[in-house]
């Protein structure tokens, strides 16, 4: 929790803890590497493997369909250190997408006419070429989505970005786990909620989330080890609460399940709840959600140009099937569509209940 409470015979009280934590990498954690995470996940007993669950649903091997979304991870640099971050992003990370990879991404996007470019990170705004990527992708006719932590644009050198996004009709997908400070700050760091509200009001003032075609979607993920609730019901409540409490409007609310990898895996391990959480995900396996997982229509590009089936596989160092192209430099849609998707126990995170994706529930 972001609060520490103490009760003595003479006083009691709760105080907040620091906003910035050291990343797994900085601490030399065994979960800092993809291999370390995969090894940890493999050691957790489950009632059935993900491959078996897919097989029982008639979906194994899972194959990709038409490539709709090119998702690029610009790097691990971030001004926040959220407790559940599957990227292990933070201010102490230095990995960012080099220029030659940026050029290859934009060339592929244009050449292959992928409808959507989905930009993620880290905080994508902190990449030196972020603005150029947005402008060139939008000018190439792609629908551009920006995954936004809401606080990076408040930093002194990034305040021009919201207007740039609006000018290029970029869809904003903003993280906000809850409509109150206690829950949001417990996950994302002290003070993040108040800054997020400031940013959302600013985005509203630019026309975002007000039905003018500038889409502002919020992403909520559980502040803890439970699963997300019904997306439609939560959206109704959130719209009411965000309007009533803060005067903020938005378009859609997406629910996302916390993925048992990286920092959330460490959180589970620290609480000795890893097996319980994975069991919850396994028991909630939904074949309809499995059929609609986002990796079937997505290609994920790592900061170094390596191709992955999704951003989670990227963090586990599981590149796409080696029988086809594996870097953005030799990417070819014809060779990538229909590829066999690499799966593992973490995939139960995307198939539990109504499912989970970067666009929320899928079933």
């Amino acid at each position: 929790m972001a609060y520490r409470c103490s009760i003595t015979s003479t006083s009691w009280g709760c105080s907040r803890v620091s906003r910035i934590l050291r990343t797994l990498q900085k601490r030399g954690s065994s979960l800092a590497t993809g291999a370390g995470q995969r090894s940890r996940l493999a050691a957790i007993p489950t009632a059935r493997s993900f491959e078996r669950a897919l097989g029982d649903a008639g979906l194994w091997p899972l194959r990709s369909l038409v490539l709709d979304i090119l998702q690029i991870n610009l790097g691990k640099r971030c001004n926040q250190t959220c407790k559940h971050c599957h990227v292990d992003a933070g201010p102490d990370r230095t990995e960012v997408m080099p220029r030659e990879v940026v050029e290859a991404v934009l060339a592929f996007l244009e050449r292959a006419r992928i409808p959507t470019l989905d930009i993620t990170g880290g905080a994508p705004e902190l990449h030196p070429d972020f603005r150029e990527i947005v402008v060139r992708a939008a000018n190439a006719g792609a629908h551009v989505m920006h995954r936004c932590n809401l606080t990076a644009v408040l930093l002194p050198n990034y305040r021009d970005i919201p207007a740039l996004l609006a000018a290029h009709r970029v869809e904003i997908v903003a993280s906000l786990p809850y409509f109150q400070g206690r829950e949001t700050d417990a996950q994302r760091g002290d003070g993040v909620f108040d800054e997020s509200i400031e940013s959302l009001r600013w985005l509203n003032s630019l026309g975002y989330g007000r039905g003018t075609g500038l889409a502002l979607n919020l992403v909520t993920n559980p502040v803890g080890t439970y699963l997300p609730g019904n997306q439609a019901a939560l959206e109704v409540r959130w719209k009411g609460e965000m309007r009533r409490r803060y005067g903020i409007e938005f378009d859609r609310l997406y629910t996302i399940t916390n993925m048992p990898i990286s920092r959330f895996l460490e959180f589970l391990d620290d609480r000795e709840q890893t097996e319980e959480y994975l069991t919850r995900l396994v028991n909630a396996f939904n074949p309809a959600a499995a059929a609609g997982v986002m990796c079937r229509g997505t290609l994920s590009v790592g900061y170094d140009g390596t191709l992955y089936d999704c951003d989670f596989n990227q963090m586990l160092d599981l590149p796409v099937d080696g029988r086809g192209p594996r870097t953005i430099f030799d990417a070819d849609v014809a060779l990538l569509e229909g590829r066999e998707i690499l799966v593992g126990p973490h995939c139960f995170g995307c198939t539990a209940g109504a499912g989970s994706s970067c666009g929320g529930a899928v079933a």
Partner: protein, 121 residues
């Protein structure tokens, strides 16, 4: 003597076991028809209706405390969070249960007063 393993609950020094919650459906073993009726009815009670599922979950959480059911507190703490409720709301719900329990005791004080009036001068 049998050499087979005893049931896992044998020799248990406590009545409550968190893992038992996951075995609730085993209650069908003795009478599947009654269990089916119960679980169907239970599901219908908690479906979205005049009250939302979230509101019903908060009521269930409060009642769980009133009847002091550890299984129910476990289930509905999680369910209330999943339905989007927060700690403030959940705490108020528990206080409602506590207030009714406390009030239920205290209001019987009127009976005590009646007896005192009857017995006294």
């Amino acid at each position: 003597m049998s050499t087979s393993q005893p049931p896992s609950h044998a020799g248990s020094a406590h009545y409550y076991n968190a893992a038992d919650l996951g075995k609730f459906s085993d209650i069908a073993r003795g009478n599947s028809e009654l269990a089916r009726k119960f679980f169907d009815w239970y599901g219908a009670v908690f479906a979205e209706g005049a009250l939302t599922q979230r509101e019903k979950s908060l009521i269930a959480l409060a009642v769980s405390h009133a009847v002091q059911c550890p299984y129910c507190i476990d289930a509905y703490s999680k369910d209330a969070l999943e339905k989007g409720s927060n700690l403030d709301e959940m705490t108020e719900a528990v206080h409602v249960a506590a207030a009714i329990r406390g009030g239920a005791s205290l209001v019987h004080g009127v009976q005590m007063l009646n007896h005192v009036d009857e017995l006294g001068m």
